[in-house]
Symmetry: D3
Subunit: 220 residues, 6 copies
Amino acid sequence: MKTVVVAPHPDDEVLGTGGTLLRRKAEDETIAWLIVTGITGEMGWSEEKINQRAHEIKRVTELFGFDSVFELNFPTTQLDQVPMSDLVAAISNVFKKFEPEEVFVPHPADVHTDHRMVFDAVASCTKWFRYLSVKRVLAYETLSETDFGLGTSQGFRPNVFVNIEPYLDDKIRAMDIYASEIGEFPFPRSHEAIQALAILRGAASGFKTAEAFELLRERL
Amino acid sequence: MKTVVVAPHPDDEVLGTGGTLLRRKAEDETIAWLIVTGITGEMGWSEEKINQRAHEIKRVTELFGFDSVFELNFPTTQLDQVPMSDLVAAISNVFKKFEPEEVFVPHPADVHTDHRMVFDAVASCTKWFRYLSVKRVLAYETLSETDFGLGTSQGFRPNVFVNIEPYLDDKIRAMDIYASEIGEFPFPRSHEAIQALAILRGAASGFKTAEAFELLRERL
Amino acid sequence: MKTVVVAPHPDDEVLGTGGTLLRRKAEDETIAWLIVTGITGEMGWSEEKINQRAHEIKRVTELFGFDSVFELNFPTTQLDQVPMSDLVAAISNVFKKFEPEEVFVPHPADVHTDHRMVFDAVASCTKWFRYLSVKRVLAYETLSETDFGLGTSQGFRPNVFVNIEPYLDDKIRAMDIYASEIGEFPFPRSHEAIQALAILRGAASGFKTAEAFELLRERL
Amino acid sequence: MKTVVVAPHPDDEVLGTGGTLLRRKAEDETIAWLIVTGITGEMGWSEEKINQRAHEIKRVTELFGFDSVFELNFPTTQLDQVPMSDLVAAISNVFKKFEPEEVFVPHPADVHTDHRMVFDAVASCTKWFRYLSVKRVLAYETLSETDFGLGTSQGFRPNVFVNIEPYLDDKIRAMDIYASEIGEFPFPRSHEAIQALAILRGAASGFKTAEAFELLRERL
Amino acid sequence: MKTVVVAPHPDDEVLGTGGTLLRRKAEDETIAWLIVTGITGEMGWSEEKINQRAHEIKRVTELFGFDSVFELNFPTTQLDQVPMSDLVAAISNVFKKFEPEEVFVPHPADVHTDHRMVFDAVASCTKWFRYLSVKRVLAYETLSETDFGLGTSQGFRPNVFVNIEPYLDDKIRAMDIYASEIGEFPFPRSHEAIQALAILRGAASGFKTAEAFELLRERL
Amino acid sequence: MKTVVVAPHPDDEVLGTGGTLLRRKAEDETIAWLIVTGITGEMGWSEEKINQRAHEIKRVTELFGFDSVFELNFPTTQLDQVPMSDLVAAISNVFKKFEPEEVFVPHPADVHTDHRMVFDAVASCTKWFRYLSVKRVLAYETLSETDFGLGTSQGFRPNVFVNIEPYLDDKIRAMDIYASEIGEFPFPRSHEAIQALAILRGAASGFKTAEAFELLRERL
């Protein structure tokens, strides 16, 4: 099986699907990472920060053993300024090339606009008659985004639970690579919160630790 | 894989999961039929009707090749008069004995009270710490029930589509066994409506004909 | 009664409301077609394609007998790049001029961004104190859009069913005019899928074929 | 058109549909009142109270000019103790006899269990293949019930607004007949609250006063 | 402030509101425990089990310092067999006597029928014109019930987070009193799961540990 | 307590929170007004209109006794053209400076795009780890916007009711300052509709007049 995780920003892939990706890889599946946004000098980022980000992506790629990494480099926190048709075209290109069977997307109730834009764009790339490879689409939950949605439409309701017991340590190790994104608990992107979420999803599904998803579409 | 379909009344299993069950069987899986209600003389049914129903169940069992059939014989159209704890206990017994991995249940928005009672009872039999065998729970749609729900809570939203192309003819043949339940189109339990639903679900998923389900819980 | 169908792209009016429009016309009502997007040379479309589109619109207009056709010519697949206030102003102009009593709009859960933008813009043109003519607003379903929404908010829940039995053939004939939009089943914009949807909506409402809508607002 | 309002208890018909019924009658339609519950001596009600109730029903019948009144006399506040099949059978009998085209029911999110039981039972009596006369089903709102629902599923979302300007005074007069049910504002069953609701629904729809409904199903 | 927690079964009050109750008490508020179900010899429970339950209730009462404990002793797991009017009357009596300002109820999407019956009954006891004391109603989440709901209506969506940092240890100590209800992780009623839930709710609200609730109604 | 109302346009603060703000002020709380949009000459507004608007803001400020007024001056009716990151940054600045504990926002189901943009932007400014001062976030209802939403996701469901009896007259007086925004009933921004809404919310909560809100998040 070929799996792709669509991450608005680097670190979403770890928070939402880290354990599952490590398990897929351990099971000899092909995994890919589609990073939608990037940071550049024109956007005002320092070279140091840009280099650091590139270094983080490299290390995370190695840790997970990603078979492919796609960087779209749209401007971070400004996806609402990108034409939806450009976003769709770029994601479509990746899907045509990688031909994923399993797709992980952020949840549409996440508080971050970038997450919602990515959700909408990916949704347009899952019609079977254009993307026949896609068999399963699942939304993941992102600590510090999914749990901060204020909206009044339906929030994250997990219906798929994946046992990640052997992989939680490496998931946290992967998160540690993003040193500037992680913080002291009760900050939600922290060791304690990541662990607590894994334990809670495990208690709901009979595993020591688990990741939870909302299945959006599957064709069998 | 061991699959059980929980049918409030005989014929729900055909309408909701007929094609999928035939496919499971063709793929050498073990399939079971749990019929929740029955008809008896004390309820005022004629012996002829009772015998006919038994005959229908026998023929459907043969056609699908059910490995197990469980008849709970609760009074039809009167499940709201059965203590929920009795209903749960009876279904629980079957689950303990058959140890299903995949469970198909009616949708909670169906208009028929029996369907909603069965949904509630099965939901109580899917906690992993009591029914460790259960890996997947899916709600099916029943022509003449799911499409007639008037409620204002969320209706059937399919997220799993199963290719039943080689099996639609046999599904309709199975439905024909229930001669008194099937009618002339536009009656919803008719050849034309069954076919149209299969075609429409197929168009949504890239198959000539399909059955659609709402995944409620899966543990992997 | 004066009816307008708001179509993000030509063919949405056929898929969503073709039978109902033909029936309205047969009943001597006044019907209008508001096409929100268009294709132009500046957007990179060939003259041949542009001419063909114009020809299709002409033929569909004749087939339905539209009393008015309004073409707003906003850029197709790029409505998210159009200021909402421009979109509202353009639709508002049409509503002021045509003074519709019945308005058909795409469903807000459709997967296509253009559809959702159109829904939002039309919603702003239905306040009674600005558009007193509007008596009824209904959302229609569009094969290949409404059935592909992945969102987690509520999907299409039809509550109005219109008998289109005498009109289905002409609806399909109208769809055939859009030769490049229609395909081989199981493609959703196909004869088979259109027919299956009409049959299924009919089975739900007691007609041989029907179109279904979600009533959003009516004042009587 | 033949219209029936299904009232769990006498006074629900006034609160939810009083103005609309008066308008239907003024427009020469046939209107019926189906009262689901009743009070009897066996339930412990005094003869005086029973007589008073009968008198109230008589006066309300006269004021509205009901063409038919059906009293099912199920025990008030105890509908959850009535077999659903009995409730359905009794309502079914009335529908078979009166053959309503338009049906008004309480909203399923009302806080009173009786209201929810009545909703479920009526829902079973609206399938077109058993009750071909039924063309429209609408849920009404009941002051002191609909506005006190605590549930987390979707509440009352009106989509049909009916101008009752000429009828509000008589609606309030009808409510006054139920002297023991009406109270001093801010009690919700009071002149002021009834008037405020009518004004608010009017402001939403362009009428001086209106009643609002949630259309659940219509076949045209 | 006077606070009451309505617990279908003993231990729900600890799981859902343990930390908050301890905090209320520490802040010198008056707290009450309304236990809806009980176990008796007639229901087939052994004297030993009955005594043990009484002992547990005594110890929990002492640990929390409940000012009042109300035991309704309806049959456990069989609330659906109790007339709703009896349930409402019994809870109503307690509310009239204790006059709570703050009420905690189980969530209506919990998988256990008893929880849903209790929710419905309490909802009937929160109308201001009958229970003027009630100022706030909140739904709590119960590990092993709220997280196992399979329904398709909206699940638990917390909007109130209460800091329970100084009280988590005592909450777990209280849970330990119910020796037969607690188990080895990943069982959901375990030290680890209770702690993980508290940490996760804390991460969402800026506290080391927290309890989360869904506010249903408040009057200020 | 420090309270801020975020108003897309001047007058939203009166319609949604007028009574509550007056009560806060009477209770000696600190209140602020954040006006998101403005009108300028470049946008084509006449100097007379601009001056009038400034005068209105001045008078409303005096009437409420606002301790702070923040005018962001984004272009009215065109917030969808403003980068979300600019909108967030501007609101963030105000929140950093004023440090509100209580935040009132428009409802996400309002029909006006500006309202929805403001909701999304404020939602990004309520994460506790960036805006520790924020303790409570509530959505208000705006006559002529909240009641005209056509969407199919969940509408306004009030769960907090605030007694504004002593303040309704001043609320209406404040609204009168916006002479061009108020109209003759049944126009929704009219004395009658404002009064009716206050009465209806009062009837639901036991006050002569009330304002209703939907609590979105609270940390205690």
